[in-house]
Symmetry: C2
Subunit: 392 residues, 2 copies
Amino acid sequence: MRAKRARGDLAYFGGTPGFAEDIRVGTPNVPAKDRYLELVSEAIDRRWLSNLGPLVRRFEALSAPRTLRAHNTATNNATTALQIAVRACGITGEVIMPSFTFVASAHAMNWIGLTPVFADVDPETGTLDPRSVAKAVSPRTGGILGVHIWGNLCDTAGLDDVARAAGVPLVFDSAQAFGCRPLLPGPSAGAGMAEVFSFHATKILNCFEGGLVATDSAEVHSRVRSMHNFGFDEAMDVVGPGTNAKMNESSAAMGIASIEHLDDMLKVYRALYLRYRQGLAQVPGITLMAAPRGQSHNHQYVVVRVDPEVAGLGRDRLSDILGAENIRTKKYFSPGCHRMRPYRQDAGHTPVGLPVTEMLTERVLALPTGLSVTPGDVDRICDVLAAAVRYG
Amino acid sequence: MRAKRARGDLAYFGGTPGFAEDIRVGTPNVPAKDRYLELVSEAIDRRWLSNLGPLVRRFEALSAPRTLRAHNTATNNATTALQIAVRACGITGEVIMPSFTFVASAHAMNWIGLTPVFADVDPETGTLDPRSVAKAVSPRTGGILGVHIWGNLCDTAGLDDVARAAGVPLVFDSAQAFGCRPLLPGPSAGAGMAEVFSFHATKILNCFEGGLVATDSAEVHSRVRSMHNFGFDEAMDVVGPGTNAKMNESSAAMGIASIEHLDDMLKVYRALYLRYRQGLAQVPGITLMAAPRGQSHNHQYVVVRVDPEVAGLGRDRLSDILGAENIRTKKYFSPGCHRMRPYRQDAGHTPVGLPVTEMLTERVLALPTGLSVTPGDVDRICDVLAAAVRYG
């Protein structure tokens, strides 16, 4: 692709698209296809395809050094994992959480009869703001769900303070944060009674579909194990409520084959993130959402904030211009959950103002990254972004 | 194995076990491993691993001639499928259902805040008895969930009458009934607003883990599609509640590879069932639970009823004697859900008597069958059963 040096070079205005084929956010990473096929083939020969099989156990063991949690339970996806985590922590009634997240966070609560109550987020990190959470606390509050959005860890100490003051459990939705941990071990590494990771196809580490509940509490872990397998205890007596959230052996095979390459993948994502940072440094009104200090980061999402008063164009128009170049961006996350039909009618979901959420949902845009994206691709995307701001 | 001609030949009394290795109920069927590996390999190359991929669409299309339903939505398992089906049909409050079923049927309701209310079953088929259901109906009744246990179709017309009289939706748990349909087309084939199938690893057709919601109602279908993908509609707006119940491409690949061999598998299961019938015909007190007339049957479970007053020994002792021979039976289903800890304390779950359920849960035993079981194995199992009754 030649550089976009004039308005007419942009496909949106009649030029040739910068990419002949779509380049996307979240194209699945499969770093070791042959290894996956070998593992799943062995599982088939073993005729053990689900029900806490040996590959699931292995994947759980391999995950432990990444979550830094004592107990790790693999699940079929992160939504059921969230349902189990909050229930295993004894949360009932209202759950204070961000509106600025993928709808699954709120829907997982709603699905099992809990009530999402939305609080605002920090403008720099996009994560739940403890001050806003404190304002949203009421006698009906049953728990707090922080979301480590884009891999940015929440202010876990701040949220922990609010949760303790309210006397309710704190749980984290770490769906986007596998590979993201505090650099210094300490209370914040173990904040929350439980947290949930996602291994959905579009995540840095994918299991086709998959999730994980991680906790340091043996008691919570015992309930999670039971709940994810129909409420059975180890003697196969049904001792409590439960669902089917078991990860199967094919998903675990993909997880094992992938986690063996996780450090290499993290390097690729970091390099692409830095390349974007360099490429966008001089583009006015396009700000790369920075990774917070003091934590390792997976850079799974490269997100920019588009400030129209500086860039001269808004996020949606930018997305259209990029789309014409076959650059498929994602508005992660827009609209906020509180604007969605199931949550917008009952004011009980929004006891506090959400000005930062409103701002971010109108301005953020996730750009392509991952194993299928090259540094050269990033350069071309940055070139299109610069041209869009100049001519768009 | 030589025949068990004396008490001491039984391993339980010191003889040599009839099987050197465990022979089990529900060993997974994988009729086309290479085909599965080919399909999943193509999915990986396509980098489309979940999110309503082409293999899921194909599996749904291939399922339609088997369910005889207009609309079929593949899911990650049958438990989430049940949750979605009852919610898509608008059921709230109490759900009348059998206690004589796998705990997943009741737990799926309980997980989303519905209240299982147990009614009794027919002694011959093990399926929900419409007369008992009628007695359990109350102003709190929100729906009826029939379970086609062991592949035996319920008295769908009878249940439909009760549901109409009560003015509530009727849904079927067909987890064990893929391949089981009425022989004559008519109202009973389409009974119920929706039904749910399972493709768990231990089912005749397996997808590692998997399920299906089938319905003839375009309206219910539309809600099911949305609910199984986070409440999104086709324009990707969140229009209602939802969860993540998407089947992934690996599971669909296994489903496609297997459904291509379904008729052959059904023949194997039928032959084994008939072999058991012949082998057990002369064994006093051991009655093969017969397949109802007027329907096709998958014979996925071969279940006997042990009548101790005739057999001279009870089900549990028989199970132990078989276990000593490395014949791993299953007490499908025992105990009844109403005897399990989450349901036994609140009398609201059991407004009517459950004498048939009590009788069956104490007497039934499922015997090994499936692609990994040979006719010769069945002969040897029947020989052990006869010897157990004679000497046990």
